[in-house]
Symmetry: C2
Subunit: 257 residues, 2 copies
């Protein structure tokens, strides 16, 4: 029950097309990264999406809001965050998703029978999306353990997360990842032999600035080569407003591909 939990906020996303109940101070608060990740799923997508490490469910809900024939399973290890995801799905404002969404409280790094037993059956998804923790353990740490758990990437975590994605996504299904550029070597190594036809989109704050994120989309079992697409530019050379494309993506009006 949320009354027992930390104070929370209810935030509108996609100009009010869905709402998210999030912890006000503790835990991970979602924003633009989750909206960009969700945009990896194409508009016409129809099928079952796994949101791995879903937090309060921002990316999964963003997919449901834009793709009317999608269903989503929000997978989150932290009971604290999973409770927010359940409450988000229960909000009356999100009633449109009630028949096509669920929360599974499970660790993405589970393997084999334990993973299946948790509800993550092999080849049972058409798409997996993930925004894995991206701080190195050596980065300045946060005093909040829930936030730290959401943000700190441990050794081999990319490999473990992508291994799970490869297990639960059917052949021909897809993966979408948002991560820091510095993780690219680890990501590509983990994707190798599992997902191919990779498309990388750098995400730059401004036209003249280096990427702060990369988005990768791949196809399970594909042997096609890699594409390095033009960057998604969030802001113009100066000023705080979004570019037209960034605004459309942030508000669920278009997909990245």
């Amino acid at each position: 029950m949320l009354a027992d939990q930390a104070s929370h906020t209810v935030d509108a996303f996609h100009r009010g097309r869905f709402y998210l109940l999030q912890p006000a101070a503790k835990g991970h608060r979602s924003g633009v990264d989750a909206m960009i990740l969700a945009s990896v799923v194409q508009n016409e997508f129809s099928g079952r999406v796994a949101d791995l490490g879903a937090g309060a469910g921002a990316a999964g809900l963003a997919v449901l809001a834009r793709c009317e024939r999608a269903s989503a399973v929000l997978i989150e290890r932290s009971g604290f965050m999973a409770a927010f995801a359940r409450e988000s799905l229960a909000l009356p404002e999100n009633a449109a998703f009630s028949g096509r969404s669920e929360v599974i409280e499970a660790d993405v790094t589970l393997t084999g029978k334990a993973r299946n037993a948790a509800g993550l059956a092999d080849n049972s998804f058409d798409f997996a999306i993930m925004n894995p923790p991206f701080n190195l353990p050596t980065d300045r740490s946060t005093p909040d353990p829930v936030k730290a758990e959401a943000h700190v990437m441990t050794q081999g975590m990319m490999e473990q997360w992508i291994r799970t994605a490869a297990a639960i996504v059917r052949p021909g299904g897809a993966i979408g990842i948002i991560a820091r550029p510095t993780s690219i070597t680890e990501l590509l190594d983990a994707l190798k032999g599992r997902f191919g036809g990779l498309v990388i989109v750098p995400v730059q704050p401004r036209p003249q600035e280096a990427a702060i994120r990369i988005v990768i989309k791949g196809t399970r079992g594909s042997r096609a080569g890699l594409t390095l697409s033009p960057a998604l530019i969030m802001h113009h050379e100066t000023g705080n407003g979004f570019t037209e494309r960034a605004d459309a993506i942030n508000n669920g009006l278009t997909s990245l591909f």
Copy 2:
């Protein structure tokens, strides 16, 4: 002697600041890729550059033409192409480089004593640049065996080339690579533990088109993270002219970094 060889052309680069003697039909003919590769070396560079797989020497000569305090060693396995490199250096138009350039006819994949004996001593260079062969053996092959040798990447070649670069470049020295985006996983794996502080620059034909090349610069022994820089855009959305930046790079008026 070239009189015995295939017909050749003498081509001006950098608006006449250096010339290249190249085979007219057989072998690899250099162009914009070599000029972009050379631009990885910063304007103020002073030191010894290894041009690995130099062909007729386009990239190495482009560095010499822009960086007056640089010296270059052109390393080329093909005797046919190395002869063109020697003749290029001997052209009166290239007299300015005569005291600071040489050709070594050697295979970049040599190791250990054989590599040292060929003139590629450990830690003896400040910079290594390379434009490795990039066609897969399964790509449509060319009937010209010299051109095929210059263009076909064999299994493990990236690893072998970068291993040589790591051996001959001193700690703190640099590597510059131009390659196809599809080689990025293999490149990053080969660079890992050898060159760090990587900076990747996508090269896009036009703003709206995917990259056709990537340029990677790295520092020997650095443990710094990776940067994904804004793309170098060669042409505008329409039309055949170079962008201002591409023109400056192609003509040796600026460095990429």
